[in-house]
C-alpha cells in the first residue's frame, strides 16, 4: 500500500467547519489541477435532515414557493423516511453561480468529503460546461429568480387569496412538461423589470386618473378597445406552439396580469429542469466518476486514512449498484451505475483499448487523454447522443443488456436484441431512444386558437407507435387548460404516420 507524503486531512468521523474547508481545498487542488475541471465558485450550506426532506418535497429547491403539492410530497417522503423505506440523499446541489451544495449535518466527515467531491466539483463542472445548461439556464440568475418567485407567489396570495393562486398553480403544474420551447429560447426581460414596468404604468394610470373619463359612453370605448386588442393579439400568435404554458401566459384571453406572471414563473422553473432531465445519466455519471477519482487520489496521496477509504467504498458501491431486471429492488436503470460505468469505459478506451474498441471508437481509442475526452463529452453531449456515441459493446456485455419489444396487439413481449454481435447497435439505439425526452412525453401542440370568434383552443397530440393518452389524466389536464384559457378546449389525437384522427376530447371551461 503506497502512501503519499501529505498529512491526513481529518481523522475519525466528526466534522467541523475547518475540516470542511480543508477538505474542499485539498479536493480543489486535485479537481482543478489534476482533472482539469472548470467550476463555479462553491458555496456549501449545512442543513438538517428535516430541511433536506423539505427541499426534497419542493422539487429539490430549498427556496421554492408554497404550494399544497409540496406538502403532499413532504408527507409521503416523511412517511417513507420514518418507516426506513428510503434513505435521504446525502447532498443536493443547485445549478447556480456560485454553485450551492447542501450537505446534511448527520453526515460523517468522509461523507462530507465525498459530497464535496461529488456535488461541489462533479456536478458543478457539469453545470458550468454542458452546452444544455449553458443554453437553457442562467446560473447567475437562478437564486434571484427563485427568491423572486417565492416572494411573488406570496404577494399574490395576499392580494388575490390563497385559493385563487393555488388553483392557478395547480393548472400550471399540470402543464409543467409543456413549459419549454425546445428551440433556442430568447432571453426575456427579467421578471423584476417587467413588474417594475407594469407597476410604473399602473402608478401612472392612477396618478393621471380622471373620473371624468368614466362618464364617456361606455359602449364606444369597449368596442374600440376590443378591436385594438384582438388586432394586436392576432399579430403575435404563431402556430403551432409546443410551449403550452408560454402560449397560455401570452394569449389566454381571460387571465389577469398576475396570473400570467405566475404562469411564467412555473414555466421558468420547468425550463430550469429541462437540461437536468436530459442529462440525468451524464450528470450523475460525471459526478460519480469525479468523486471516485478524487477520493482515490486523496487516498493515494495519504490525505485520507484506510477507514475513510473503506467507508467511501462502501457508500460508492451502494450508489452504483444495478439490480437485475428481475430483482425485487429493480426500478429502472440506475443513472449512477450506468453513467459511472460509461465514464470508466471511456477512460479505459482512451488509455487501454483492445481491438474491438479501435474498431468501434477509432477517434478516441488509445488517444491517451482520458480526462480531455471525458471533458469534451461532458460539454458537448446529452444522454441520448452520449449513449448513441459512447456505449461500447464491452459494456453491453458486462451489464447483460437486452432490448425488449412490447406491442399492444400481441400477448407476448419479444426479446429483440441481446448482447451479441448482431444486437449491439440495436441495443444502443434502443437505449438512446429511452433517454430521448421527446419520446418520453406525449407530443402535444397548440394547433388552432380562435382569438376573436368562439375562442376555441385546439391542441393536437401526434400519436407515435399507437401510444395514446391516458383518458382520465387527459381529461383532468384538459380541464386545467380550459380553466386557464377560459373557453372551450379541444384535444385531437392524430396518428403521426397516417394523419387519421384517433381520439377527440372536448372540454368546456367551468364558469
Amino acid at each position: 500500500m503506497k502512501k503519499g507524503t501529505q498529512d491526513l486531512i481529518y481523522r475519525g468521523s466528526e466534522w467541523d467547519f475547518d475540516l470542511l474547508q480543508r477538505a474542499h481545498d485539498a479536493i480543489e487542488v486535485i479537481a482543478v489541477d489534476g482533472l482539469g475541471l472548470d467550476v463555479y465558485p462553491n458555496q456549501i450550506e449545512v442543513i438538517t435532515s428535516e430541511q433536506m426532506l423539505d427541499a426534497y418535497a419542493s422539487v429539490g429547491m430549498p427556496m421554492m414557493y408554497s404550494h399544497w403539492s409540496f406538502g403532499k410530497h413532504f408527507a409521503r417522503e416523511e412517511l417513507l423516511y420514518r418507516k426506513g423505506a428510503q434513505a435521504l440523499a446525502y447532498e443536493l446541489v443547485i445549478n447556480s453561480n456560485p454553485c450551492v451544495s447542501y450537505v446534511m449535518e448527520e453526515n460523517t466527515m468522509t461523507m462530507q468529503t465525498l459530497v464535496i467531491a461529488h456535488a461541489a466539483f462533479g456536478h458543478n463542472h457539469f453545470f458550468k460546461n454542458n452546452h444544455l445548461f449553458r443554453q437553457w439556464t442562467r446560473a447567475d440568475r437562478v437564486l434571484d429568480d427563485l427568491s423572486y418567485a417565492k416572494q411573488y407567489v406570496a404577494k399574490c396570495e395576499e392580494a388575490h387569496g390563497v385559493q385563487a393562486v393555488e388553483s392557478l398553480l395547480d393548472a400550471a403544474h399540470a402543464l409543467m412538461a409543456y413549459g419549454v420551447s425546445r428551440y433556442a429560447p430568447k432571453k426575456p426581460i427579467r421578471p423584476k423589470d417587467r413588474i417594475a414596468k407594469y407597476e410604473a404604468r399602473r402608478d401612472h394610470e392612477q396618478s393621471t386618473f380622471n373620473d371624468l373619463y368614466r362618464t364617456l359612453p361606455a359602449s364606444k370605448r369597449e368596442s374600440h378597445r376590443d378591436e385594438n386588442s384582438s388586432d394586436s393579439q392576432g399579430d403575435t400568435v404563431k402556430l403551432p406552439e409546443e410551449n403550452l404554458l408560454l402560449f397560455l401566459a401570452d394569449h389566454a384571453p381571460k387571465l389577469k396580469d398576475w396570473q400570467r406572471e405566475l404562469l411564467h414563473i412555473v414555466r421558468r422553473t420547468a425550463q430550469y429542469f429541462y437540461p437536468q432531465r436530459q442529462t440525468k445519466l451524464m450528470n450523475e455519471g460525471c459526478a460519480t466518476f469525479v468523486h471516485y477519482q478524487i477520493m482515490n487520489q486523496l487516498y493515494d496521496g495519504g490525505q485520507i486514512d484506510d477507514g475513510a477509504m473503506l467507508e467511501f467504498l462502501h457508500m460508492h458501491s451502494a450508489v452504483v449498484r444495478q439490480p437485475r431486471f428481475d430483482d425485487q429492488r429493480y426500478s429502472g436503470l440506475n443513472p449512477y451505475a450506468l453513467g459511472f460505468a460509461m465514464m470508466r469505459d471511456i477512460a479505459r478506451i482512451c488509455d487501454d483499448p483492445d481491438e474491438e474498441d479501435r474498431q468501434w471508437f477509432p477517434q478516441i481509442a488509445g488517444n491517451g487523454d482520458a480526462m480531455g475526452t471525458l471533458r469534451t463529452a461532458w460539454a458537448e453531449y446529452r444522454d441520448e447522443s452520449f449513449i448513441l456515441q459512447f456505449l461500447s459493446p464491452r459494456l453491453i456485455r458486462e451489464l447483460h443488456l437486452f432490448a425488449v419489444g412490447d406491442r399492444s396487439d400481441s400477448p407476448f413481449v419479444s426479446v429483440d436484441a441481446i448482447h451479441d454481435e448482431s444486437g449491439y447497435r440495436e441495443i444502443r439505439r434502443c437505449l438512446a431512444d429511452q433517454y430521448d425526452l421527446s419520446r418520453h412525453d406525449p407530443e402535444i401542440e397548440v394547433t388552432e386558437a380562435d382569438l376573436t370568434g368562439n375562442r376555441r383552443l385546439v391542441l393536437t397530440h401526434r400519436v407515435r407507435e399507437g401510444r395514446l393518452l391516458a383518458k382520465d389524466d387527459c381529461n383532468r389536464t384538459l380541464r386545467h387548460i380550459a380553466a386557464l384559457w377560459g373557453y372551450r378546449v379541444r384535444l385531437i389525437e392524430t396518428d403521426s404516420q397516417t394523419g387519421a384522427t384517433l381520439n377527440d376530447y372536448d372540454v368546456v371551461a367551468l364558469p
Binding site: F17, L20, Q21, H24, N42, Q43, I44, E45, V46, I47, E50, Q51, A57, S66, W68, S69, G71, K72, F74, A75, R76, L79, R82, H173, A174, L175, A177, Q322, R324, F325, D326, Q328, Y330, L399, H400, F402, V404, D406, S408, P411, F412, V413, S414, V415, D416, I418, I427, C430, Q434, I444, V463, G466, R467, L468, L469, A470, K471, D472, D473, T477
Partner: protein
C-alpha cells in the same frame, strides 16, 4: 469557497405547505376521522392517525401515455438466458408492463400519511371553538392551598419567625454598637477588683464606663419591634386537574348495537373534550338494567343483558363510586347518561330525587342523551320528566340523537350554546 450554516434557519418550513395540503384533503380526512370514532376505544381517540386517501383525489394530473396501449421498446439489464426472438407472455391483468416493470408494482396505491394528534383534534373539533368554549363551560374545581410566602413585618404572635427576627436583631445591634452583656460583666468584675484594691480613681472611671454602657444598652434595645418577622402564608387556589367521566347507559334489550354505537360516539367526544382541559381524565362505565354495575369498556358496549330499566340504580351506583373513589374536592365530575328513554314509572320519583339531591350538586355537567330510532313519536318518559330539572339546573342538558351525523351538532349545541331552555 465558503461554508454557511443553515441549520439555524426556521425549522418546519414545510408546515405551511403541509397545512395547505391538509386543508385540501379535509373532506377525506373528515371521513377518516369518522371511521376512527367507530373503531377506537373511547380513551384513545386523541392519538395521531394514519390517514389514507384515494390517490386520484390528490393527484396532479398531466398528459401521460395510457399504459399498455401502443408499441414500445426498452432496454433491461441483467439478461440471463434470453436469446433473440424469445417471446415472453405478458403478465395477466395489467396490459403490458411499463418500462420500469416492477413485478409487484401497483400504481393505484392510496396515498397514506400520518396526521399528527394536533391536526387530528383540530379537525375533530373543527367548528367547536374549543378554547373559548372550554373557558366558559368547563369550570374547574379549585381547592385553596396554604403555602409559605416569605415573611411579613406583622402578624399573629404564633407565626413569629424567631430565626429571622433574631437575625435582624443581631445585625441591628452590631450596627448600632450595642455593648454586649459580657462587656458589662467584665467591667463589673474589674470594678470589684478596683473596689477591693481601694483604687478610687479607677473605681470612678469604671463606674462612669459602666454607666455609659448601661445607657447604651437601654437606648439600643436587644429586641426591637422593627426586628420582628412573621411567617407569611398565602392561600393559593389550586385547580383540580383531574376529572372523572361517568358513562351511564341503559343496556336493556331495547338498546340495540346501533344505539349503543351512537352513545359511544358521544362518550368519545366528551372524553376528548375533557382531555383537552384536564391533565387526567378517568372513565367509569356504569351499565344498568334493573340493577346497575360498573363494568369495563368492552362489556359496556358489547355485553348483553336483559331486564327492565331502573335508572335510579345507575345513579345510586354512581353516587356510591363517587363517595368511594372520587372525593368532590379533588375531582371534577362529569356524567353522560345515554338511554332510549324508558324507565319504570314507579322509579321516576326516586330517579329525579337522586338527581336533584345527590348527583347534580356534585357534577360539573350532566348530559342526558336520548338515542332512538326515528320511528318513535312523542317524548319518552325520561325526556318528559327531566324537563323541570333542565329548567332549574343550567349544567344539566339533554339532547336527542337518531343518527351518527347528529352527534356532532348535538355535542356542539350542548357545549356551545348558552341556551339552557331546551
Amino acid at each position: 469557497m465558503h461554508v454557511i450554516d443553515r441549520r439555524q434557519n426556521p425549522k418546519a418550513k414545510s408546515l405551511g405547505n403541509r397545512g395547505r395540503f391538509v386543508r385540501r384533503v379535509k373532506s377525506h380526512i373528515r371521513k377518516a376521522v369518522n371511521d376512527a370514532i367507530r373503531h377506537r376505544k373511547v380513551a384513545d381517540l386523541g392519538t395521531s392517525e394514519k390517514i389514507s386517501i384515494n390517490s386520484s383525489d390528490v393527484s396532479e394530473p398531466s398528459f401521460s401515455f395510457e399504459r399498455g396501449v401502443g408499441n414500445r421498446e426498452y432496454v433491461l439489464p441483467g439478461n440471463q438466458g434470453y436469446q433473440r426472438g424469445d417471446r415472453i407472455r405478458k403478465p395477466k391483468g395489467r396490459g403490458g408492463s411499463g418500462s420500469s416493470g416492477t413485478p409487484d408494482g401497483d400504481s393505484e396505491d392510496p396515498f397514506v400519511f400520518m396526521l399528527s394528534r394536533e391536526e387530528f383534534l383540530d379537525l375533530f373539533f373543527e367548528d367547536l371553538e374549543l378554547p373559548n368554549l372550554a373557558k366558559r363551560k368547563l369550570k374547574s374545581m379549585t381547592t385553596a392551598v396554604r403555602s409559605r410566602a416569605g415573611y411579613a413585618s406583622d402578624g399573629a404572635p404564633q407565626r413569629l419567625n424567631l430565626r429571622q427576627t433574631m437575625r435582624r436583631s443581631l445585625s441591628r445591634r452590631i450596627a448600632l454598637k450595642r455593648p454586649k452583656q459580657s462587656e458589662l460583666d467584665s467591667l463589673e468584675s474589674e470594678l470589684k477588683i478596683a473596689e477591693s484594691d481601694n483604687d478610687e480613681l479607677e473605681v470612678i472611671r469604671i463606674r462612669e464606663l459602666i454607666e455609659t454602657v448601661r445607657t447604651r444598652m437601654r437606648l439600643v434595645a436587644y429586641l426591637d419591634t422593627v426586628d420582628l418577622r412573621y411567617n407569611r402564608f398565602e392561600n393559593t387556589p389550586r385547580p383540580t386537574t383531574q376529572a372523572v367521566m361517568f358513562c351511564l347507559m341503559d343496556t336493556s334489550a331495547s338498546m340495540t348495537e346501533d344505539l349503543k354505537d351512537l352513545a359511544k360516539r358521544f362518550y368519545m367526544l366528551l372524553h376528548l373534550f375533557l382531555k383537552r382541559h384536564y391533565q387526567a381524565v378517568e372513565l367509569v362505565f356504569i351499565r344498568h338494567t334493573y340493577t346497575a354495575s360498573e363494568v369495563d369498556e368492552e362489556t359496556f358496549f358489547h355485553g348483553r343483558e336483559t331486564g327492565g330499566t331502573v335508572v335510579s340504580s345507575a345513579l345510586e351506583e354512581m353516587d356510591r363510586i363517587i363517595r368511594q373513589r372520587y372525593p368532590v374536592d379533588d375531582w371534577n365530575i362529569y356524567a353522560a347518561q345515554a338511554s332510549d328513554g324508558h324507565n319504570f314509572d314507579h322509579d321516576m320519583p326516586r330517579t329525579l330525587a337522586l338527581l336533584e339531591q345527590t348527583i347534580l350538586p356534585v357534577c360539573q355537567y350532566y348530559a342526558y342523551i336520548e338515542v332512538s330510532d326515528e320511528s318513535i313519536d312523542g317524548d319518552s318518559l325520561l325526556w318528559e320528566d327531566y324537563s323541570p330539572l333542565i329548567e332549574r339546573y343550567p349544567h344539566f342538558e339533554r339532547a336527542h340523537v337518531t343518527e351518527p351525523s347528529d352527534i356532532y351538532p348535538v355535542f356542539h349545541n350542548l357545549f356551545a350554546s348558552g341556551a339552557h331552555s331546551k
